[in-house]
Symmetry: C2
């Protein structure tokens, strides 16, 4: 697993919205204030919406807001929403990648590491991050 810029942006989006949970936040606003490209942020917020992490409202005065409290949103949620399932070796996801799976003595290590990562990422929620920020 590698944290891409897209995921970094997603985290910033959540962090931004967590500061005012009641308000509807517009793409333009979030992008400008967090220094991210607007059209890319639009795509990312779509993904977060599909993952039910944020709600979206169309039309005049529309925007985005967290659908859960910051304490209910974990790093794992956000990463999986934008990147898909966690893994460190694509052989775990893509069967074509490694035909040797059944013979491969290293494979169980990738699985173990994935599980450790998932566990860890689950433990950090956005209330925790906001405390430290503000």
């Amino acid at each position: 697993m590698k944290i891409t810029r897209e995921t970094d942006y997603a985290i910033r989006c959540i962090l931004h919205m967590a500061q005012e949970t009641e308000k509807l936040h517009m793409i333009t606003d979030i992008a400008k204030k967090q220094d991210m490209p607007k059209s890319f942020v639009a795509k990312i917020l779509q993904k977060l919406a599909k993952a039910k992490i944020v709600s979206s409202t169309r039309g005049v005065n529309g925007g985005f807001a967290l659908r859960k409290t910051p304490s209910e949103i974990t790093l794992l949620h956000v990463i999986e929403a934008v990147q898909g399932p966690i893994f460190i070796n694509s052989c775990m996801v893509d069967n074509k990648r490694c035909s040797r799976r059944s013979l491969c003595s290293v494979h169980p290590v990738w699985i173990e590491i994935r599980n450790i990562l998932i566990d860890k990422l689950k433990k950090y929620d956005f209330q925790f991050f906001c405390k430290k920020t503000g």
Copy 2:
């Protein structure tokens, strides 16, 4: 951190050479038997040689061999030899990536996860993998 195909190949190289530690293994042989592109394997073995994981001998009857016993070579060694230092977010390596570092409440988590990964990868050596393979 993501395990690239290059690293997968590097691991196969070590695994292959660990089967006959006394012998000098030629690029062509390793590549053919482990089903990897020869010229790419050549580059990977160069990296492993620079990292002092394998020794190389030029000329007729030349080839590669492990420079240490399988038990002394860890997953971490091999991964770092081909991919460089372990990280999951490039903000930890590339200063340009995130100007917000000092403000960023998530950054310590990336550090923590990196340390966990390093610890884990250190614990698996190639004697362990060979036992299971054959």
